[in-house]
Amino acid sequence: MKRQLPLALVFIFGIFMIIQYFVPHESSEWVFEFLLDWIYIIGIFALALGIWSLIRVSWDKVKYRKENWFYSLVTLFGLFAMIVFGFDYLRNFQTAEGLQNFMFRHFFDYIMIPIQATMFSLLAFFIASAAYRAFRARSLLATLLLVAALIVMLRFNPYFGPISPYLEKTASWLLNVPNLAAKRAIVIGVGLGIVATALKVILGIERAYLGKD
C-alpha cells in the first residue's frame, strides 16, 4: 500500500499516457483531457501545503525572534493582504470580483511588477560582471568562448571602420552555424536523456521521488 501501490500507479498511468499519444480517437482524447485536469487540480490543492510551509517558516522566525524576524512579518502581511483583497475583502469567494479589487490590482501593479521587473533587470549588471570575471583566456576552450562572445558583442560596433561589416557577418555566422550545431546536438541528447529518465521512472528503477518508510 505504501510503496507498491504508488509504483503500480506510476506504471499504469505512464503506459496509458504513452499509448494515448498514438490514439487520436475521441475516447482516448477525453480520458487524456480528464487526466490533465486531475494534474491541474492536484497542483492547486498542493498549493495549500506550500502556503502552509511559507506561513510556518515565517511564523517560526517571528515567534522565536530569529535573525531578521521583522521581515518575515512583512511577508506574512503581504500574503494575507493579497488574499483578503483577492476575495474582495473576504466577501466574494465564488465570483472573481476580487481580481478587480482596487487594492489587489494596485499591489500587483505597484509592488509585484516593479520589484520583479527590477530583479529581472539586475541581469544587465550580472551579465557584465559574469563576463568580466569569467571570460579569461585560461585555456583553448575558455578562449573560444571568450572570442565568440566578443565578436557577437561587437557586431554593431561602428568604431572598427572597414572591419565592422566583417564583424557583423562573422557574428551572424557564429549565431547561425556553430550555435545551431551545438543546440541541435544538445537537444537530441536532452531528448534521449528525458526519455531514458522517464522510462526509468515508469519501470520503477528510479524511485527517489517516492521517499521511504
Binding site: 500507479l9 492547486i44 516593479p114 544587465a124 555566422w173 550545431a181
Partner: protein, 264 residues
C-alpha cells in the same frame, strides 16, 4: 505628461521606491532590499493563491460540481467524476498528519506517472526526431563558398552544421573514453559547443541592457510627473523617495573614505 492624481502618484512613488530598493542589492544586502524581497515573496504568494482559486479551482472544479449538493457529498452532480481529482487533491493534505502522510504518495505517483508517460513520446518526437530530420539536409555543393564573407547559407556552413552536430553528440558519449580518433572528434564537438555558448551569451547582452533601460524610463517618468506638476507636494514625495537612497549613498561613501587602511 498627462495629469496624474495624487493618489496614483503615491502608488507610483511606492513602485519607484521599491525599484530603487531592489537595485540597492547590487551594492550589498541591506534592510531596504530585505524589505522589498520579503514583501514581494508574500504578495506574490498571495497573488497566486487568488489566481489559482478564481481561475483554477472555481472553473475547473467547483463550477463542475455546482449542481451537486453538500448533503449527498456532490455525488448527485452531473459531472460527479470530478470528485476523483478533488479526492486526490485532498489526499495531498494528509501530509499535515504525520501518521497518514504516506497517503499523499498516491496522488503524487499519479501526477508523476501521467507526466512521465506524457513526456516519452512527445520528447521523442519534438526533440529527437524533429532535430534528426532537420539535420539531414542536402549540402549546396554548387555554392560551397557562398556569396561573400562567411555566408550562412553556403555549402561549407551546412557541412559545418552537420559535422558539428555529430561531433558534439560524440562529446556526450558516457561509456567511451575520449581517446584516439574519438578524442579528436569529441574535441571538435566541445569546440563547437563552446563557440555556440559564447555566441549566445554575447547575443543576450543586448536584451538584458534593454531591461535596465526600461527601468530607467520608469524612474524618468516618475521624475517627470513630479517636476512638471504645479503642486509642491509631488516634489516632496519625489524628494522623500529618492532622498533615502541619496542619504544612504552618502553614508556609505563617508564610511568608505574613513575605512581603516591596512598596511601592506
Amino acid at each position: 505628461m498627462e495629469a496624474m492624481s495624487f493618489g496614483t502618484f503615491i502608488w507610483t512613488a511606492l513602485g519607484a521606491f521599491l525599484t530603487l530598493a531592489t537595485f540597492s542589492f547590487l551594492y550589498k544586502d541591506n534592510p531596504l532590499y530585505k524589505l522589498a524581497e520579503h514583501l514581494v515573496v508574500g504578495v506574490s504568494a498571495g497573488y497566486f493563491v487568488i489566481i489559482l482559486w478564481h481561475n483554477g479551482l472555481v472553473p475547473n472544479l467547483f463550477s463542475r460540481l455546482a449542481d451537486g449538493n453538500f448533503y449527498f457529498l456532490w455525488l448527485n452532480s452531473s459531472k460527479w467524476w470530478y470528485l476523483v481529482p478533488a479526492l486526490l487533491g485532498i489526499m495531498m493534505w494528509t501530509r499535515f498528519i504525520r501518521k497518514w502522510a504516506w497517503v499523499s504518495r498516491w496522488p503524487m505517483a499519479l501526477y508523476i506517472g501521467i507526466a512521465t508517460g506524457l513526456a516519452i513520446p512527445l520528447e521523442m518526437k519534438n526533440r529527437v526526431l524533429t532535430q534528426l530530420h532537420s539535420a539531414m539536409r542536402p549540402v549546396d555543393w554548387g555554392n560551397f563558398l557562398g556569396n561573400g564573407f562567411l555566408d550562412t547559407a553556403a555549402g561549407f556552413s551546412q557541412v559545418i552544421i552537420f559535422v558539428g552536430t555529430i561531433s558534439a553528440l560524440f562529446y556526450f558519449f558516457f561509456s567511451k573514453e575520449h581517446s584516439g580518433v574519438f578524442k579528436g572528434v569529441a574535441r571538435f564537438g566541445i569546440w563547437i559547443l563552446m563557440i555556440g555558448f559564447g555566441a549566445s551569451f554575447g547575443y543576450t547582452v543586448m536584451a538584458r541592457i534593454s531591461l535596465f533601460i526600461q527601468r530607467i524610463q520608469v524612474l524618468e517618468d516618475f521624475t517627470n510627473v513630479a517636476w512638471t506638476t504645479d503642486r509642491g507636494i509631488f516634489l516632496v514625495v519625489w524628494f522623500i523617495t529618492f532622498g533615502i537612497f541619496v542619504l544612504l549613498s552618502i553614508y556609505e561613501i563617508v564610511k568608505y573614505l574613513n575605512r581603516p587602511r591596512s598596511v601592506q
